[in-house]
Structure formats: C-alpha cells, structure tokens
Symmetry: C2
Subunit: 388 residues, 2 copies
C-alpha cells in the first residue's frame, strides 16, 4: 500500500460491501460510481457541477490525455489535478481500452500495443512501462495496468492468449510502477506528480470461469493495491456479464476494493454490488444525456418524443436534481431539438445525479441491511426499455 | 405605463444615468447589459449560472421562439418565464432584425415582412400586429415594436423609407399592444401571458441626424413606455455609431429608459452610457466565448494561441469569475482545441461576468460621480486588438 491509500469495509450485507477508500486526494465512499472525464472534463458540465453533484472521484482517459495535450505538458502544469482544477480523487485507465476501441490501427506485440492516433494517424507504442510512466506523470490517485482487450465473443484461444499476455504485462507494469514509487531518481525522464499513486491490476479471461480464476490467481500474486475486472461490457449478453462478475468478484482479496470497468446500466450497478463490486465507471449517463435519453427509476425517457412537446412536468417527478427541480420536459425537448448545448448540460446533470444518488441509496441500504430489498424494488420498477 | 413598469433615475453623472427599472418580474439596475438567450437559453450556460452571474434581465429572440417551439406552445406552457424556468425580467425583440439577417428570403410590404424560415424554408408573414401578438403570448416584460432594418451604408432614400415605414408600423404595433392590454377579450386568439408587459418603440433613420430627429419625434408621439435606438451596429464605422447615439439619445424622453439595440464591444458600453444609454444587449460575449475569445480590461485574449499551451496563470488575473478563479489558460486552451463543450461554458461564464461586472463598475462610478474617470481609464487600458 502507498502511504495515501487505504480501504476499510464498514458494513456488509450479503456479499455487498459498504466501504471507505482513502486516496492522496481524499476519501471515496463505496460502492461508488466514477463519472468519466475523458479528456480532463466530464463532457458538457463543469468541475463545480461535479462538486455540487457530490462526485467523490472521477476517471480520466490516459489514451486521450496522452495524445492531447500530452502527459508531459500536464506534468509540467503540476499534474492532472492541478491542470483540470479538480482536487478530489482521480482514477486513470491505462489507455488499453481506447487503443482497442478508438485507434485507427492497432497491432499487439509482446512488447506492447502499437497504434495509430485516431486524431492524426501518428504512430505510437504503448507498453506496460509507458502506460505506467504516463499515469505517473498525470499523477492520478489510482493508475491501472495496461491490459489487452479482446472483443466478445472471443474463442477460448484468443481469450487465453490475451489473458496470459495481460498477466505478463501486469508484472512489467507493477515493476515499473514500484520503481517510480520507490526510486524515482532512477527514471529521470518521468515526472512523478503524485507520489501516493496506487496501482490496480486487471483480471481478464473473457467469459470463461476457468480463465478468470487463473487470471485472478496470477494477478493477485503481483500484489497490487487493488483489482479490477476488465474485458466485460464489450458485447457479451448482460446475463453472461453478471455470471462472470459473480464468479470473479468473490475470488478477489476481500480487503481490497474491486472495480468493474466500463459498466454500466443502472440495474448493472445493483447486480454487481450484490456480488461484491465497489467501484464503477461508465460513459453511459453522460453519453446518453447528449443523445437525449434521461434515466429514471422506471427506465429511460427519450426527451425528443412528440408527446413531451407541451408536457410541463419535470423529467423525473421523483428526482431532486437541478434539472428536475427547475425545468419541464417541454423545455428540455425544445432545447434538445433546437440543438442547444444547454440540453446536453441539463440532461447530463440529471443522469449523473441519478447514478450518484442510486449509489447513495445503495450505500445506505447496505448500512441498514436492506440492500436485497432495495435491489428487488429496483428490479421491479426499472426497465431498460423507454418507459415514458 | 403598465402597472408593473416603472423607471426611476437615482443618480446622474454628466449625461450618464444610474437608474432602476421596475418590471412585473423584478427590478433591473441600470445601466444594464442583457445576455442574449436566443432560443430560450443563453448558449452553453444554465439559468443557475445567469443567477450566479447576477444577470438581472435577459433577452429572448422572437423570430427563433416563434419558429421553434412556437409562441402558441410557449403560451400553453404558461409563457416564456415559466417555459424556460427564469423568474427575472425578460425583454423580447420583435423578430424584425432576424428576418433581416437570418431569413432565407425577405420581402417588405406595407403590411409587414414576408419571409422564409431559415430552418425549413416555410413562408411566414410578420406584421406589426403579429409581432405584438407573438410577444404577448411569450409574455416578456418588455416587448419591442416591429421595425424595418436596412443595411449600412444605406442611401438617404432607403433610410428615409425604412424610417417612415417603421413609424407607421410602430403606430399599428402600439394600437395592437394597447388593445391586448386593455381589452384582451377582443383578441380571443391571443393568450396574453403577462398583463404587465411594457412596449418600447424603436428609433430608426440610419446614420442621418435629420432622419433620427424626425424618427424620435414621430415615435415619441406614440407614447411608448420607453424607446430604443435601432439600426446601429449593422456595419457602420464605430465612430459613426457613437455620433448617431450622441445625437439621438439626448432627444429621447429623459425620464424613460433608453435601449441601444445589439451593441456591442466593451468600450461601446462606456461610450454609449456617456451619452445617456441605459440598456444594452449583444451576442458578442457568448459568441466570442464559443470562438475562443476571452474579453478582459486590456482587450481580447485568443485562447487557442500556442503561447498559452503551458501557461498556468488564469485567463484574466484581474477577474474574479468562476473560470478565472479555478482554471488556467493551459487548461482552457486544451478544452478549446479538443472541442470540449465545457470550453464554451467556461469562456461564456468569463465573458458574461466581464460584461456584467463592467456594468456594475459603471453604475458605481455614476453614483460616485467618477464615471468620466472610469471611462478614461478604460479607454487607456482596453484595446480591441488581441492583447495577450
């Protein structure tokens, strides 16, 4: 553990855990949802909005920040926290997922992932060491190891190969991270902007329980501060995702936070907390907001629908967010159809409030031993199909 | 005067006036700048931001709101204030300027302005009566009469014709407005959503002092609640604009607010307050913000410039706005170049703060009899050319 990093479990309810994650930039109440601040900004809202929403941690994308404005520039500006004016915890991913999903070209070598920038086609090589260096320069509170993502469904062989390579990469990433932590002078080209940075390993293995078990064992051996479940929400059916989480999460060290990467819909949060997951991130609340979809306890509301043209009721009558307290469906529909940027802002404020409020309710329920009841309630009222 | 409308001059300093404008939705301290909420939203910021900025009045564009979502819909939703969730004063223009500047086709008849929508090419007829009806349905606190705008430079004949037609239109607009105010039952098709709405006349006459004098006399005869100077900031040199304002403003009734439409740059505010103008509106602070131009006491700062890439100082070290208190030039440059919507938001918050703060300083200076000193100071430090 780094000096600044700690995790305490305060309450349990079944496999669900109510915890407190300490980082160099403050404490995160878990289970927690991390809004995604792709390029140093959560799209269409400001840092002040995030504070008002009581977001305790956000995620930054290493791939994007590395390409623009560059980790060197951010380090010279004092690290990511100072650069973006956000003093609470930040987790950065390794860049591996965006190399897989965004890059113009990707070639996996044992050395690392070679790719071309989606912006200008320039050629780059992301190695486990380089991913650790970039994140050290960004100075996030939690860095992730570089892993190899494969599309779903992947056959057993590609899944095994990617899992095994991810383990080898994780070992190299850990070595480099510990070198930067304990002997920064040995890497004079890397400006470590947050000496208390923790590093999480990532479990891969596709949808195979056997591969997942192997991956857990090999990754936990490397003694990271904590562990993530990667390679899910990449196209597999949701029930399969739940099964993999149900299998994998309990194998991870009980006393360390568990992070399910890139998930998901609101009902996913309940199902995966039930299996012992502590951290989530997803672009869904902000991306869907920009596409005019508002999420509520009953399900999605598609704001452009003609039936809302003169509907003066709030988007979600049960919601206490700024948007729902002040604006009508008719107004939000007008803004969305007119293409006003404010539509994205107001919808994002609502969706993030909904996610963060859902996590608050989950944490409270765990404390009171009523998580299972809340989960059943949510299941009965929430549908993924537009409900309004 | 309507019941809800009043104007009191509290202090004078030369021709500059420090006043208080009372409307059905509250009081506006003048001289005042009105942020432009084109389609029911000030672009890229929220109503909460406007309240935090202490904007006391905003402007809505009748042309845009009439086309989308329609004044009928807004009336059925309770009027513009309720529709957009803004409880402070609103001024609406007549739509004439956008018909002149935006419409796909425009033909001026004595009856009114025939035009095609810039959105779908549909054919519309905006008459003085219709413009009054639309604004009655919107329920703004201040409605403007329909006038005919001409490009600058216009020859003496087109300028005279447009001025004289504007006077005839103003008479019809006033008649219709008073009918709606005193006998709404006689116009059952029009839903008057703000019975306390005031109506301002508009002085035209291009850059000819003689025409301006004639226009003032004929318009003031119609006994509006107050008067605007229209047809400026349409391409004429800024000195000519100042001359027309210097000539026209003092001709207007002393006890009524004077509104200079569509102006302008920060130095324009000082020059025109000096001639007795009380109200301003302009898209410049928000539009330039979206284009990456931040306005300061020294002049514009073009945020995309390479020299700001690693500049950790605030955009304007003298400014106390949210943006300048929390973010660096380097971060704002990154957001702008990355195309993040948050760039528009943060830049707009700064520019609007700068305009509204400038008006606060102007009001204070008038109270203390030091307006001329402030104006000279501003002149010496402010340049329209990028200063950073």
């Amino acid at each position: 553990m780094t000096d600044g990093f700690d995790f305490r479990i305060l309450n349990r309810d079944g496999l669900a855990r109510r915890g407190e994650l300490t980082t160099p930039h403050g404490v995160v109440q878990t289970p927690a949802f991390m809004p995604v601040g792709t390029r140093g900004a959560v799209k269409s809202i400001t840092q002040r909005d995030l504070e008002d929403l009581d977001a305790e941690i956000i995620l930054g994308n290493t791939y994007h920040l590395y390409l623009k404005p560059g980790d060197g520039l951010i380090a010279r500006c004092g690290g990511l926290h100072r650069f973006i004016g956000w003093n609470r915890p930040i987790l950065t991913d390794s860049g591996g997922y965006q190399v897989y999903s965004l890059a113009a070209m990707r070639r996996i070598h044992e050395e690392g992932a070679e790719f071309r920038s989606h912006i200008d086609g320039s050629l780059h090589m992301l190695t486990p060491e380089r991913a650790a260096d970039i994140q050290a320069q960004l100075g996030s509170d939690i860095a992730m190891v570089l892993d190899e993502c494969v599309a779903s469904p992947a056959g057993p062989e590609p899944a095994r190969e990617a899992m095994e390579r991810s383990v080898r990469w994780a070992r190299r990433a850990r070595t480099r991270h510990l070198q930067l932590r304990h002997d920064p002078a040995s890497a004079p080209d890397v400006a470590v902007t947050n000496p208390g940075q923790a590093q999480f390993g990532i479990v891969q293995g596709g949808i195979s329980p056997g591969l997942r078990t192997e991956s857990v064992q090999a990754t936990v051996e490397l003694a990271f501060e904590a562990y993530a479940i990667g390679g899910l929400s990449v196209g597999e059916p949701v029930d399969v995702m739940y099964e993999v989480v149900a299998h994998t999460a309990p194998l991870l060290p009980d006393g360390r936070p568990r992070y399910l990467m890139g998930t998901g819909m609101p009902d996913d949060l309940f199902e995966c907390v039930a299996h012992g997951v502590d951290l989530f991130d997803c672009v869904l609340p902000t991306r869907n907001a920009r596409n005019g979809q508002l999420l509520t306890r009953r399900g999605p509301l598609v704001i452009k629908n003609a039936r809302y043209a003169e509907d003066v009721s709030p988007p979600d009558p049960e919601c206490s967010c700024y948007t729902c307290r002040h604006f009508s469906r008719a107004y939000l529909r007008h803004l969305f159809i007119a293409g006003e940027m404010t539509a994205a802002t107001l919808n994002s404020l609502h969706n993030l409030h909904f996610y963060l409020d859902t996590m608050r309710r989950i944490r409270e329920a765990i404390v009171f031993g009523s998580f299972e009841k809340l989960r059943q309630e949510f299941r009965q009222t929430f549908s993924r199909r537009p409900q309004y």
